[in-house]
């Protein structure tokens, strides 16, 4: 508790500190490659025959996903706080790679906790983190996925808190993490607004993003919450189907609970035992959702739709062939829903899909899904 109090104090001090803001801006621009492009997907638009589709290219960021936005902010903050070491959980490995990258850049020790099942699914990312100087701990407790990686990172933080900052990767966990992560990610939505205004002179009609814990979606949505005409749509991982026990669709199947330091919605049984969720995408394979998403859902400001493994894999292949862009399997969930939604909308409407990450890491897994035995 003291650790999160200390963090809140430090964050309140630095968030509007001109020097901190300037340093972070410089890192975004000159290290991460921001602003990321807003790309008009003309072929996809024509093919679907409805709303105009833009892709927010977070996949083009350094390290290949939106995770770098949050990580640069948090690791810079950790450094200002005098911390010597950062630790983080990771699912697909994107957040772990981003954290290891920022730690290497800023000269901090780094240890990453990753479910054993995920270290097997994402062998290349494990090696990538090690290459960046991080130590990767495979987590063998519980379901051996993202949720257990969070448990283990929390345990590690209580063991060594004085010199260590926990770089939480999503808009979840105890306060102030959901706020901090949202603040560092909201640049996505801000850029979408500016870039679209420049290209089209108006707001989008819908912003679509995939949701696990929900950081890329919150980043994309936040700027538009007050713009009531903009539909905000989160795409959850429905795995083998929302009615099949093998899914991770928290909004569709979850109930209110208190876990990982937050009151939100969770996939759980009648006794509050957290469910062993499943998705083809390691990054969406989490039984909860950030509390601010639960609030947006409750108030009706955002809607959340389930997308199955099969739909996501088809969208993964579709975007690759149609636009020459291989999206992360996580982001492919958002692409999949856009494929359904765009044809139902008029041609003068605009959809922005947040392509939160690139799909290189998923190629072997998708090949295996299609029955081609490729191993990394």
């Amino acid at each position: 508790m003291n650790a999160v109090n200390e963090l809140e104090e430090a964050y309140d001090h630095y968030k509007n500190n001109p020097e901190f803001v300037a340093e972070l801006d410089d890192l975004y621009k000159n290290y991460a490659g921001r602003p990321s492009l807003l790309y008009y997907a003309e072929k996809m638009t024509k093919d679907l025959g409805g709303a105009k589709i833009y892709l927010k290219r977070e996949d083009l960021n350094h390290t290949g996903s939106h995770k770098i936005n949050n990580v640069l902010g948090q690791v810079l903050l950790a450094k200002k706080m005098g911390k010597k070491r950062v630790i983080a959980e990771t699912g697909a490995g994107q957040h772990g790679v981003a954290t290891a990258t920022a730690a290497a850049l800023m000269g901090l020790e780094c240890e990453i906790f990753m479910g054993k099942e995920d270290t097997d699914r994402q062998v290349l990312n494990v090696y990538r983190m090690e290459l960046l100087g991080a130590k990767v701990h495979p987590v063998t407790s519980g379901t051996q996925t993202l949720k257990d990686a969070v448990n283990e990172t929390m345990r590690e933080w209580t063991k060594r808190v004085e010199d260590t900052h926990y770089v939480l990767g999503s808009v979840m966990g105890p306060h102030p993490f959901p706020t901090i992560v949202r603040d560092f990610q909201k640049i996505i939505g801000k850029e979408i607004k500016d870039q679209l205004n420049e290209k089209e002179g108006r707001l989008p009609d819908a912003v679509i993003a995939c949701v696990g814990g929900g950081s890329n979606a919150m980043g994309a949505f936040y700027e538009f919450i007050e713009d009531r005409t903009v539909q905000l749509i989160g795409c959850e991982a429905a795995g083998l189907g929302v009615d099949n026990p093998k899914n991770a669709a928290t909004i569709a199947n979850g109930t209110e609970g208190i876990f990982h330091g937050m009151k939100s919605l969770f996939c759980q049984d009648e006794y509050g035992q957290i469910a062993p969720v499943y998705s083809i995408s390691a990054g969406l394979d989490y039984p909860g959702i950030g509390p601010e998403h639960a609030m947006l859902y409750k108030t009706g400001r955002a809607s959340y739709v389930p997308v199955t493994d099969e739909e996501a894999v088809r969208a993964f292949e579709y975007l690759s062939r149609t636009e020459g862009i291989i999206p992360a399997i996580e982001s492919a969930h958002a692409v999949a829903y856009a494929r359904k939604l765009a044809p139902e909308m008029d041609r003068d409407k605009i959809i922005v899909i947040n392509v939160s990450g690139r799909g290189d890491k998923d190629v072997a897994a998708i090949a295996r899904y299609r029955g081609i035995k490729i191993y990394e």
Partner: protein, 258 residues
């Protein structure tokens, strides 16, 4: 005076812990009776949870196995209700906030009263969030036991001043589990507590040997042992009643010498 505070009236207290339903509920019931007979002054019973984030490997595994062998909060309540008729020692539940919240707070505490539960320890409910259960604890007179950790610093006085039952003084950073060496300056933690309250203090996390128990009990009002007991249960399974009883006896004697 509450049954929990009474436990500290006859010298230093020995507090023992078992994970409910591990390896099965029959054994849990027998263990509770045996531990009382062996001199345990207070018994903590863990309600198994899928994600016990304050626990080390030993109790994590006990939680997983209790759940996979079918233990539920309801079945554990039923078992405790039965065993309550055989023991007078204070019984305290240790669990996480989600199993309580999801069960329904009111319903949960009603059942606690029915089963003679005296207190509750919720490691993932920090002091600052205690209002979440405050009303129910008060209404059903189940005492909410606060934890203080070496990192609690200036919060120690605040937490201690409002403590109920006893104060669970966490000996080391990190999670539960047997440790060979405990370096924390327990006595300065205890003296901060003493500045503001007479509520008894028991030290836990990492204690396994009679020497450790004696040393920590000397600094505080009692010692808490969990993982070392659960380890014996892991080793002997259903046959763990005798070895656990012998162990608790030895530990109680050591604490008594403090």
């Amino acid at each position: 005076m509450s049954r929990i505070k009474n436990a500290f009236l006859n010298g230093k207290a020995f507090i023992s812990f078992v994970t409910g339903g591990y390896p099965d509920l029959e054994t849990t019931k027998e263990l509770i009776v045996a531990m009382e007979e062996a001199g345990a002054d207070l018994i903590e019973i863990g309600i198994p949870f899928s994600d016990p984030i304050a626990e080390g490997a030993v109790i994590q595994e006990a939680n997983e196995r209790a759940l996979s062998s079918g233990c539920t909060t309801d079945k554990l309540f039923d078992a405790i209700k039965e065993v309550r008729e055989k023991v007078t020692v204070p019984l305290v539940f240790l669990t996480y906030i989600n199993p309580i919240y999801t069960y329904g707070k009111e319903r949960f505490f009603k059942r606690c009263v029915e089963c003679g539960i005296d207190g509750i320890i919720v490691p993932d409910l920090p002091f600052e969030e205690r209002d979440e259960l405050k009303e129910e604890c008060k209404q059903y007179q189940v005492e909410s036991i606060s934890l203080i950790a070496p990192t609690s610093k200036e919060r120690i006085r605040t937490i201690a001043s409002q403590a109920e039952g006893f104060i669970y003084c966490v000996s080391s950073l990190g999670v539960t589990g047997v440790r060979t060496e405990i370096k924390t300056d327990i006595s300065s933690m205890i003296s901060m507590v003493r500045e503001v309250t007479d509520t008894p203090c028991a030290v836990g996390f990492g204690i396994s040997t009679p020497e450790q128990a004696k040393d920590f009990a000397a600094l505080a009002d009692g010692a808490i042992v969990g993982s070392a007991i659960v380890k014996i249960v892991t080793q002997y399974g259903k046959e763990s009643i005798k070895p656990v009883k012998a162990y608790v006896k030895e530990m109680k004697t050591a604490v008594g010498e403090a």
